[in-house]
Symmetry: C2
Subunit: 123 residues, 2 copies
């Protein structure tokens, strides 16, 4: 599950541990300046926009649990579940491509629906 | 990416190729009778309920493209993107646990929101 022989997985897990530990500065050290992220709401380009995506999520994060993690030389997948102030279970998958020790591309998959429903109930 | 030394990945990919080829009978041969699937809408138990979840999706499937796939002895993850008659890009991740050559547990992650929006626009 956590094959430390995968350079991409090492980076993906270091990133994951940093942001789920609510240390976004440390997490961003593993993200390339010109990162491209295909997220549910659309494509995000550049580290600043990526950080702006993550920041509100990290602020409402209560806990995260890794479900599975695999990788090879260039690519890694981390599947995890999150508990936030908004939604009790929000599973997600991040499938990343790593170049020069940083995440250059990420495909980020999660269900936006429970978050949207929780927000519309709250408002 | 497609490490054929992983028994779980072999099953996950055979299942994936069958259902994305719209052969649900063949796909279900890789799914345990007592399968448990944690899907976005909640837990599904048993092969009949699982098939009922997949059937309408397979019916509207136009194409599927594998993004990444990894596995080990027991667990595998397949990340893919789908084009359906409803949504042009619906990426998903299936993280499965395989026992006795069949999928015993699946955590199925995708964004329901574009499907819901497309349905409410259509109706």
């Amino acid at each position: 599950m956590t094959d430390q022989n995968s350079p991409a997985l090492r980076v993906a897990l270091a990133y994951h541990q940093a942001w789920t530990g609510r240390n976004l500065d440390e997490a961003m050290a593993y993200v390339a300046d010109d990162v491209v992220c295909d997220a549910p709401a659309g494509r995000i380009e550049g580290a600043d926009a990526y950080r702006a995506l993550m920041e509100p999520f990290v602020q409402m994060l209560i806990s995260a649990e890794t479900v599975a993690a695999f990788g090879d030389e260039e690519q890694a997948i981390v599947v995890y579940d999150t508990t936030t102030t908004l939604v009790s279970s929000g599973p997600a998958a991040e499938c990343v491509t790593v170049r020069d020790g940083r995440i250059a591309y990420s495909r980020f998959i999660f269900d936006r629906l429970p978050f949207q429903l929780a927000r519309s109930t709250a408002s």
